[in-house]
């Protein structure tokens, strides 16, 4: 080995370069490094530069400086104004109220919701893949629903279910109060607890998909060997199962933490009535008035994300191997839950019906009633779906949504956008995962690993704004191409995380066997690697698709018109108070995603739920 190293070191530069680029992993990493520097590093540096710049309007007035000048005003105002609290001390100071207190709330919510997502999603993934629980098909199909729904709809559902006249605005009773007379306390309905619960449940499918993908392929021999040696179940889980799924667990933590840090709609919906503020709510209001301070908050969110990424790197770097899929044969045997099988299954089904099915029923109901609150048959109509000449309503379009050319066109564009983003992001994720894992430990691998995750750390609205500014400098970044580009870059982290997790699980000997018989690289990818880890790779395609279909703040500044895609149309309709049309469009988005999932299942034999064991 030392002789080979000497020989390489003595090679002429040209030969070294040729040898370097003869390895597909190196080519992939170099290409991604350059692309990601332009598409990720540039927005990041733009964001940082905005924190030191005077913006027109209130900042220019406050600093008495010209627009575009350098200033530390934003830092001083947001981070270091702790002495204007008067007799109340620092807890009434501007910096505490605008930054430090929301920061603490954000940390609390992010950590709690991440834990909820991992525990709930991880447990259900284990039950579905490694046990003989009943109703597997139903559970695995329905478990991903909460992620397909926009998070604010889950928040609205929570509020509509639990609200009552004793808490928050106290204007009306929700379902639990009006039907069963149960008045939940304020801490349950608004504030830290429901925000964490809703976000945790919304992102639990991440954990389910990523952890389940690993558990699906884990060789049961490992656990059975421990059982033969009379190891307790708890010890098997903690010393064998957990360490193996650790990369997926950390990837989930990273994704969920970053998502919940920048979540906006849920904290506004469930936090405002009780004055519970988080960083994202402060950032949105500051972006309109003191943009520099808004961008400082965005930078802080990124710093936290980077810290978790570093922990992730450190942990996966420590261990030599996470291989679970090898060239040797393996088997999967299921843990027998015995008498616990039925109770656990029934409990899970009830929970999923409440979380996943009831909201859909609620949207469907709200989309067929004419006068709000009246659920009698006489007040119901299918006009909002398939009606014509609806001038009597004095709202919305002339036709129901399934017959409206405007909505069908927006649906077409939404699908085009989501499919394009998913294909680009998914494929790049597979390739990036391959390159990163094959060259694990090298500078290039670490750099691409980090850069491929950065887009997810930037808050969507800021990301969209930066790409809008980029589009004014680069003329071909416009229209649908701009939307596809920003969507692909933003959701690349999903694909790269699942790609990396999948490749870490794969032993080298599988590919080496193909190399020995001179199979070209592209064939190895298509005929060997991809099929083995199909379920994990496929989630890298489906997650960007689902995210793009229901994304709003990323695209809102880039869409040519509000009618271009369904989510911006939905926002318009909500603003106008056209609730029935809004609920119908919401349900349409969810149903379309489910249909696509079903179609992918039929065409490829794999899907998010089936690939994991449903």
């Amino acid at each position: 080995m030392a002789r080979l190293k000497d020989k390489t070191a003595r090679m002429p530069l040209g030969n070294k370069v040729v040898m370097f680029f003869s390895k597909p992993a190196n080519v992939i990493l170099v290409v991604f490094f350059v692309l990601l520097c332009m598409l990720t590093l540039y927005p990041l540096l733009t964001l940082v530069s905005e924190t030191f710049t005077v913006h027109a309007g209130r900042e220019a007035t406050a600093t008495k400086q010209a627009r575009g000048s350098f200033t530390l005003y934003s830092f001083k105002k947001l981070l270091f104004t702790l002495d204007d609290g008067g007799s109340e001390g620092f807890k009434e100071s501007t910096s505490w109220i605008q930054f430090y207190s929301p920061l603490l709330n954000t940390m609390a919510v992010s950590i709690t919701s991440s834990v909820i997502a991992i525990i709930f999603g991880g447990c259900v993934a284990w039950l579905v893949t490694r046990s003989n629980i009943k109703f597997k098909k139903f559970i695995s199909t329905v478990f991903v629903f909460p992620y397909i729904m926009p998070s604010w709809t889950l928040a609205m559902f929570w509020s509509n279910f639990f609200k009552n006249v004793n808490v928050g605005p106290g204007t009306s009773n929700g379902i639990l109060a009006s039907v069963f007379g149960i008045m939940m306390p304020e801490w349950f309905v608004y504030g830290f607890f429901p925000i964490s619960m809703v976000l945790g449940l919304h992102y639990a499918p991440f954990a389910y998909i990523l952890i389940g993908g690993i558990l699906r392929n884990m060789d049961a021999n490992l656990e059975e060997a421990a059982t033969i040696l009379k190891t307790t179940r708890a010890r098997i889980v903690s010393r064998i199962t957990l360490p193996i799924v650790m990369p997926a667990l950390l990837s989930t933590l990273l994704l969920v933490f970053a998502s919940t840090m920048s979540a906006y709609a849920v904290p506004v919906f469930l936090g405002s009535p009780v004055r519970y503020y988080v960083l994202s709510t402060k950032m949105m209001s500051l972006m309109n008035t003191y943009k520099g301070q808004g961008y400082i908050i965005a930078s802080v969110m990124i710093i936290f994300g980077v810290a978790i990424l570093a922990i992730n790197q450190w942990f996966t770097g420590k261990r030599k191997s996470f291989t679970t899929v090898t060239g040797k044969s393996s088997q999967i045997s299921l843990v027998n839950l015995k008498k616990a099988s039925w109770p656990i299954a029934v409990l899970l089904v009830i929970i999923l019906v409440l979380l996943a099915i009831l909201p859909l029923v609620s949207f469907a109901l709200e989309s067929v009633i004419i006068k709000a609150g009246d659920y009698s048959i006489e007040n119901m109509t299918l006009d909002f779906w398939i009606g014509r000449n609806l001038s009597y309503l004095d709202q919305g379009d002339a036709n129901g949504i399934l017959l409206s050319p405007k909505i069908l066109k927006a649906l077409g564009y939404s699908l085009l956008l989501a499919v394009s983003c998913s294909v680009i992001a998914g494929t790049c994720g597979v390739l990036a995962g391959y390159g990163i894992v094959k060259r694990r430990g090298s500078f290039l691998s670490t750099a691409v690993n980090n850069l491929s995750f950065f887009p997810y750390l930037l808050p969507s609205l800021a990301f969209g704004a930066i790409y809008l500014a980029l589009s004014t400098k680069v003329s071909f970044i416009t229209g649908m191409f701009a939307l596809i580009l920003v969507g692909s870059v933003k959701y690349l982290p999903f694909a790269s995380r699942s790609g990396i997790s999948a490749m870490l699980q794969l032993s080298n000997e599988i590919e080496e066997a193909a190399v020995i018989v001179s199979v070209p690289w592209w064939k190895r990818m298509v005929r060997v690697i991809f099929p083995i880890q199909k379920s994990s790779f496929l989630s890298g395609y489906l997650l960007p698709f689902v995210s793009c279909m229901r994304e709003l703040s990323l695209f809102v500044l880039l869409v040519p018109t509000s009618d271009t895609i369904l989510t911006t149309m939905l926002m318009q309709y909500s603003e106008k108070g056209w609730d029935q049309f809004g609920n119908a469009i919401n349900l349409l988005i969810i149903v379309v995603v489910l249909i696509i999932n079903f179609t992918v299942n039929k065409l490829t034999g794999a899907s998010i739920d089936k690939g994991i064991g449903g």
Binding site: L41, L45, G57, G68, G170, T171, Y277, K371, F443, E575
Partner: protein
């Protein structure tokens, strides 16, 4: 070598970013571009504008803070056979998008309907990003104070309460600061909508502070004790916000307060939300409507009002079409999407308010209006005070 390469690339990116010129636009003594066209067009007749607009090509694009701009521009497009595109954007989004597109000289909106006079003045008018245009055909019907920037309409936010509890009757704004109203006043957080923040800032102005002090005396029979507050306006704002429960949208506030179970609740929200079929308006009392019937006004104001401005963008690719559209919006047909409901009042005095509603002259008398200069001058101080009360 590798580290040097990556550091070099990062430095290159940094240079690209930090060298991007963001210098202030130089002051132009003479009008050029769209500004010059708009100035000249102010003397044109309707037919001349139509002729000029017809000669332009391409999609006519508009942005608006108001969702009904889509309805208006679609009708305009059908009338003149013009292809249109529209976007409804919120506060933060519309200013951000305009700023980026106009400064980047990219294709964006030709015309905007926009609120928040203070932001408009400091970010758009002073930089020349948005251009004012007053159509000659309607100029005689527009108040001089509403001409620059041009006010297309006024929107009001009023004290409206649930009338299931007959005991609730607001005749003085200080009632909303009393212990009995704690948690029963519903308002959209000023952090979520700038016009709400602007209203609170205006309450601290000398004129309104004095009226609030008088209203206090009228309610309680004694002079107000300010304590640590600078004036009566600050005291009212702090105590009003302490009693508020915040909901994120005016539509939701209207729906919630109108429920039969919301007895004793009062809100400060957009009157035109009562047009929604999900609002049970029979359960609501509009303070100023009641005041007009009984002759007993709400002291010293019944709510606040803010303008929706119509402006041409400096990078408009169809400037004459934008001007024609502004003229259209100032007339009956163009105002119809808003005018057919209560709560919208055209800047054109010849267009009456909806039947059953009160005229603009009444609202201008009893509501707090924006003063962009005062707001800009005092924003830093008062907004810091407000956020501590949220």
């Amino acid at each position: 070598m590798k580290k040097l390469l990556s550091i070099s690339i990062m430095l290159l990116c940094a240079i690209m970013v930090f060298s991007t010129p963001q210098a202030e636009k130089p002051a132009e003594p003479e009008l050029t571009g769209v500004a010059a066209l708009a100035k000249a067009a102010e003397a044109m007749t309707h037919d001349e504008l139509v002729q000029k607009a017809s000669a332009e090509a391409g999609v006519f694009t508009v942005y608006g803070n108001t969702s009904r701009i889509t309805t208006a521009v679609e009708a305009f497009g059908k009338l003149y056979g013009i292809e249109i595109a529209s976007s409804n954007l919120k506060d933060a989004e519309i200013y951000e998008k305009l700023d980026i597109e106009i400064n980047g000289k990219a294709k964006g909106a030709d015309m905007v309907m926009i609120q928040d006079g203070a932001s408009l003045k400091s970010q758009m008018l002073s930089t020349g990003n948005l251009i004012n245009f007053v159509p000659a055909s309607v100029k005689p019907y527009i108040d001089e104070n509403d001409q620059n920037p041009l006010v297309q309409q006024y929107i009001n936010k009023l004290f409206i309460w649930n009338n299931k509890d007959a005991a609730l009757n607001i005749t003085n704004v200080w009632q909303l600061t009393e212990p009995a109203m704690k948690g029963n006043v519903i308002f959209k957080s000023p952090e979520l909508e700038q016009v709400n923040m602007n209203f609170l800032i205006m309450c601290t102005s000398p004129a309104w502070a004095e009226k609030l002090a008088e209203a206090y005396k009228a309610q309680y029979g004694k002079a107000i004790e300010l304590g640590s507050y600078s004036n009566a306006g600050y005291k009212w704002v702090a105590e009003f916000l302490a009693n508020c429960t915040f909901i994120k949208s005016d539509t939701t506030i209207a729906e919630e307060i109108s429920q039969a179970t919301a007895a004793g609740k009062a809100g400060l929200f957009v009157l035109s939300k009562l047009r929604s079929s999900s609002v049970l308006s029979e359960n609501l009392t509009v303070g100023q409507y009641l005041a007009s019937e009984t002759g007993k006004a709400i002291e010293p104001f019944s709510g606040f009002m803010y303008p929706m401005y119509s402006m041409v963008t400096a990078n408009a690719s169809r400037p004459y079409t934008a001007m024609l559209f502004i003229e259209y919006l100032m007339q009956a047909d163009g105002f119809e999407p808003w005018g057919k409901s209560i709560g919208a009042y055209s800047g054109n005095k010849s267009l009456p308010a909806k039947e059953g509603d009160l005229p603009l002259t009444v609202w201008k008398d009893c509501l707090v209006s924006e003063d962009a200069d005062y707001i800009l001058e005092n924003y830093e101080t008062v907004s810091s005070f407000v956020i501590k009360a949220l």
